[in-house]
Assembly symmetry: C2
């Protein structure tokens, strides 16, 4: 393996000394970049995911254009339900559709276990190719949806407003729900292990819909399975990041899930969370993504607030509190990256 020239992101994940606070941006390989839209013109979203050359190209774009300290492989969390046998379509401006939504224990039994090396070879090829093309410039992050978030899509058949179907499913068919969560957990663990084997330097688990649940339900239907996944990932020191959007409770338990890094959305105060969960794990986040609509002055002001809130300490990875929005000016994203690298230096070094 090529030695990493910039490993500051990995050092921060492990709460080691850094010169500045590393930064990457959720959805950094995305529609706000004209260079991404140019590739997207040639191929639809899923074709991009399934063509390693295209996936590698857009994965590397923000490293070149924005200057982030880590790349994240371009893909989608719903490749797992697809590999489990569901028919997936991405409908322009409407979002994903998973046909024949899961509604019974029979449906669950009919899903197959994912063999990542066979069923998701295209992702692993994209990881290997990206690693080669990155040539050690920055680390590469692999990712997956949490079992709860994937189950939500599989039962709803796509996005949802009220999440009625998934809630009916867990309340009225808890056995089927737990069986499905178990099945997804094994697939996710095997998938993330394969990504690491293919070269990913870290992995992130996205629990996009964890915040829909009451604290007790979050424990039962989401956190338990995140823990299961983490315990099963085959890794040699590669950090695991868990981002559970809207989950403002049980952060102490999340910090004990086996994750090395907890990602926080912009409604949390980093300093308060840090003093609550202590220095067990690193923290990633959490600028309000819409601040990037503001002036450069505003972006600097708010970025410094985030840095100050975390304070002088190891273990902070700067990020937005959710994905970058598609109509953000790319120069604002670049300005944020430059600003964080510059302003954060005074929070590191001699204390």
């Amino acid at each position: 393996m090529t030695k990493l020239q910039n490993d500051i992101f990995l050092r921060a994940c492990k709460r080691k000394n850094v010169e500045y606070t590393p930064i990457w941006i959720m959805r950094q390989a995305g529609r706000y970049l004209p260079e991404y839209r140019a590739v997207r013109k040639k191929a639809d979203f899923l074709t991009m995911c399934k063509t390693p050359e295209l996936a590698a190209e857009v994965t590397i774009q923000p490293v070149d254009l924005i200057g982030v300290d880590a790349a994240i492989i371009f893909s989608d969390i719903l490749v797992i339900p697809e590999a489990m046998g569901m028919h997936l379509e991405m409908i322009e401006s409407k979002g994903p559709r998973l046909y024949n939504a899961i509604r019974s224990i029979n449906d669950v039994n009919n899903l197959k276990q994912v063999d990542a090396v066979k069923d998701l070879k295209y992702v692993l090829d994209a990881v290997s190719l990206t690693k080669k093309e990155l040539n050690g410039r920055v680390p590469l992050i692999g990712f997956a949806g949490s079992p709860w978030t994937l189950m939500t899509y599989m039962v709803e058949g796509g996005g949802s407003k009220n999440f009625a179907e998934i809630k009916k499913f867990i309340y009225n068919q808890p056995k089927a729900a737990h069986l499905l969560l178990d099945k997804i957990s094994s697939s996710v663990a095997e998938y993330l292990s394969a990504k690491i084997e293919a070269g990913a330097d870290a992995v992130q688990i996205f629990d996009t819909w964890g915040g829909l649940l009451s604290p007790a339900d979050f424990q039962e239907f989401s956190l338990n399975y995140i823990e299961k996944v983490i315990s099963k990932i085959k890794r040699k020191g590669q950090p695991v990041i868990v981002f559970a959007k809207g989950v403002h409770y049980q952060l102490d338990k999340l910090a004990e899930s086996g994750a090395n890094v907890i990602g926080l959305d912009w409604t949390m105060e980093l300093g308060k969370v840090r003093s609550k969960i202590g220095n067990k794990v690193a923290i990633q986040g959490n600028l309000d993504p819409t601040v990037l609509y503001g002036s450069k002055e505003k972006i600097r002001e708010e970025a410094v607030k985030v840095l100050k809130s975390f304070g002088k300490n190891n273990g902070h990875i700067f990020n937005l509190g959710h994905g970058i929005l598609p109509d953000v000016p790319p120069e604002n994203a670049k300005f944020l990256v430059d600003t964080v690298k510059e302003e954060s230096r005074r929070f590191h070094g001699k204390k």
Copy 2:
């Protein structure tokens, strides 16, 4: 005024002794009731709001059918922007549209101050008529949107996915935003005062979109104006309830806003919040609305969890953590009301 036969809701708002935990349900006058849908067939949503006889009829339905301890006047928070001069339409299955969205200080200056007695006479007439028809059976709640939530609709021109426009507005035109919030605050305070004058026994402020904001922005753009509204409401002991969905931070500050009751969504633990904010205010909430999709057994189990979480103490009003969903079986709503009245008795009385 007719004396109230059932004032348990008002006593709980003031943290006085009660025999059982009173209960009402957000959106209790709504689509899940066949009797509501029958009225809705005769008139569109806004016509219902503007016809006191129809508004009174659907307001009283859940008192008769479900047995709640308070009625809440049937209306919509967007009647205020309409009264300020915006053109409002409710588009079937798409939600509200406010035309010529506010995007500049000129737009703000062109809005008029609401004269509730003149501009919103139909709501006040609905309140008086409902009070008369309720004939003292239960108290009547009036409501309004918070200034921040109303501004969000006025700037977005309706609902939104990413709330890009409102965030651009507050970050790039903060002066215009504060001017608009001031203007809305006066209108809301005057409107709620008029509702009380017309007979409302309590009022609730809905901050539906408070949870979109970072803690600092919530303070600046929402909480400050909620406080302003509360301080200006003319009342003689009528309690004020504030429900700020998704606001899990600064609950201590919300408790000092002048509100008598804080409404919580289902991601909060009542017991934890109570021990944090002390006994300054009463707490309303917070069963996950989707639990009503479950079996009766499940509904009882989860309702008891909520009661236990609050514990043996005065100052709890049972409610859902958000509005009741349109496809919930009405018998499940009635079962919840009966269950809370029955199960909560052991949390009151001699301690």
